[in-house]
Symmetry: C2
Subunit: 410 residues, 2 copies
């Protein structure tokens, strides 16, 4: 086996055993682009070998999608196929595991009428709302992994010879996901423990607020009384561990919806709905976004904020040290799965129920009473840099350093 | 543009304009294997350019399917995904057009437990029954086109160098579908007219019976009083023409379910459900299959006959002269879409309602009263050869030659 084949096998193994951690008799749903074929075939085989009852592969093609956005009539973007949504919801109800294999070019939908994109985001968000609740409350196991596409590799390695770019992106993905080490499953176990030490420290502190300072950023974020910091491995309704993102370097919790004030500046480009949004800042008053500016993609950013009422508020606060491996690789992936793990970030949109004590069993109303935001959308954006300091403010007003110069201060 | 690209463009154009003949505002459903990506992307673009409202592409992968047949538990093959079936039925009700892009290796499922295959055929046949009725009664437009896969090309051109086989199969497909001529759409119009001359001749004759004689074959087939011969272009419920198969060289009608007697010998291998059935003969008494023998794939052939009650009877009688272009190419495609157009053939299973006067508006009961067979399945098998003679027997007992030495006798 070539080195590439060995790493691909290990990556498939990670996706199955650490990512969704498929159980005997379980159904696995894989949503993938055509570029994922080689990896997906390995994953399907390993899933059945472990004893999966069924593996459902839903393929899609970026070129077909782009052609549709360019040429189909307007009204089609307001309709999400009803039976596909029902199928996903039923599979979640039945306890299936869900894997996404992504590879989109960051510029896939550049130049498309932003209204079409916004309509489609809204239609799919609405149709898949129940499914998303299963995912976002960690009731079912889910994971996201990535494979290169030519368009994506062109964006990440524009200076490399064209024929080497996909290979270089594979190498970067293997490195970021620890698929290239001797025993990736053991490496992930160790990594999981490291992140849990940070989680335990922060949870013992019960900070009332976080205060962010950096060039262009002066932001205060209130945390719910019963907030919980989480990181790395999650546990589903049946008690099985899974890793929702591969890679993952973040430790995160939820903000109080109405407790965010000040301005925050982005530090990395954000690839959203097939477009790049870059060099932007967002201003909050009592949690609500009152102003956005962007040097690139401002229209798309505004459409994102206008998705629904909840997309005017934050749903996630995540801490990633500047010396994280992905950040140190100095590769800008133009893909949130990777870039969010290189940088402190926030998310516009819905909050995770499991980030609050008892949240998994709360109704939407109870979650809202505890300060959690709800929205059709959830989009991470990166704000970390080596110039960022973060303080934790306790109930009694005392202040403790959490981050200094972009890295953990404890 | 290379010669290949030019032909691929013309093939896409044929599939859209002659095959399904997509209308402005119509939805097109494409069921395709991953190997179809390059062609399908062209087809999607052309469909939207003509004014299609939506193009739904359902991808599947032969390797994933084979892995499932090898490794999944038994019971999964008895379940067809309910929402997928409902979606297909609704789309047919709404007047969508349906295109299949096929490329399976003829040996795809070789060695798989035949019971799994039979269960899956039965489950999908049952779940998609209503959808199939839309197709088989020509209420909606549909077509089947083919693209090479490595496994298929290996089977058709085993003696060519490995790296040339896919190219050779493309050439053979372009030739058989007339995609390589100067003006393919015009060529198909002319071809359509030629086949209609044969159709008109046979319809004017009102034969009561056909009598087949060839080595291993002595078979009499009664035709329903109101039978209609058809060929080439079809017309859907809304009056739009379409070409259900590309290529198509056949002129065909339906037998009286209980009016088939004698024995018929196959003259070409039959690729069915991922297996090859070869050198077989079938004996009928009052229409019912009472004996089958096969040198290869006998078990699969028996499973096919046991699908349901209707799969013990014939549903189609088709005439193709031995000097048809596909036959003259001397290429054995191991694929019914091509091989049925090189040879006289019959089909086990359901009969087409449009092959009887007023049939499109008849209930299942009325169709049965007129002698038409009903089944979950419909599988063509080839019986033509240069040694085949066919007589037409009229109501008054007079006999006229239809085929002599494998070719039209009129
Ligand atoms: Zn995050
Ligand atoms: Zn997030
Ligand atoms: Zn036929
Ligand atoms: Zn047929």
């Amino acid at each position: 086996m070539s080195n590439f084949q060995t790493n691909l096998e290990k990556y498939a193994e990670l996706a199955i055993k650490v990512g969704v951690n498929v159980q005997k008799g379980q159904t696995l749903v894989i949503n993938t682009t055509l570029e994922g074929a080689e990896l997906v075939r390995l994953i399907v085989k390993k899933a059945y070998e472990i004893g999966a009852r069924n593996v459902i592969v839903n393929w899609s093609d970026d070129t077909v999608n782009r052609t549709k956005f360019d040429l189909a009539p307007d009204d089609i973007f307001k309709e999400y196929p009803e039976h596909r949504a029902k199928e996903m919801i039923e599979l979640a109800e039945q306890g299936a595991a869900f894997m996404s294999v992504i590879s989109s070019s960051p510029d896939l939908l550049k130049g498309v009428n932003p209204e079409r994109i916004a309509n489609w985001q809204k239609a799919s968000g609405t149709a898949l709302k129940q499914y998303r609740q299963y995912i976002q409350s960690d009731k079912v196991s889910w994971t996201i992994v990535a494979v290169p596409s030519q368009g994506w590799a062109d964006k990440v390695f524009p200076d490399a010879p064209k024929e080497e770019r996909i290979h270089k992106l594979w190498e970067a993905i293997f490195k970021a996901t620890r698929a290239d080490v001797e025993n990736p499953v053991a490496a992930w176990k160790e990594h999981d423990e490291t992140l849990h030490e940070k989680v335990n420290y922060l949870n013992a502190k019960h900070y009332k607020k976080l205060h962010y300072k950096a060039p262009g950023t002066d932001l205060t974020i209130e945390l719910p009384k019963k907030h919980i910091w989480v990181g790395a491995g999650s546990i589903n309704e049946n008690g099985h561990e899974f890793m929702a993102n591969m890679p993952t370097e973040e430790v995160f919790t939820v903000p109080v919806k109405t407790g965010v004030n000040g301005t925050v500046a982005s530090t990395m480009p954000l690839s959203y709905a097939g477009n790049i949004i870059d060099k932007f800042s967002i201003t909050f008053e009592n949690g609500r976004i009152v102003n956005v500016k962007a040097e690139e993609g401002e229209e798309i950013l505004k459409q994102l904020v206008e998705t629904d009422e909840g997309s005017h508020y934050l749903g996630e606060v995540a801490l990633v040290p500047y010396h994280s491996p992905i950040s140190q690789s100095n590769i800008l992936f133009f893909n949130t799965l990777f870039d969010e793990n290189a940088s402190n970030h926030l998310a516009i949109g819905s909050a995770y129920a499991f980030c609050i004590e008892g949240g998994k069993k709360m109704s939407q109303e109870e979650l809202a009473e505890n300060g959690l935001n709800e929205s059709l959308t959830h989009v991470d954006f990166m704000i970390g840099s080596p110039k960022m300091d973060i303080d934790g403010i306790k109930e009694d007003g005392s202040i403790e350093p959490i981050f200094r110069n972009g890295n953990w201060a404890f």
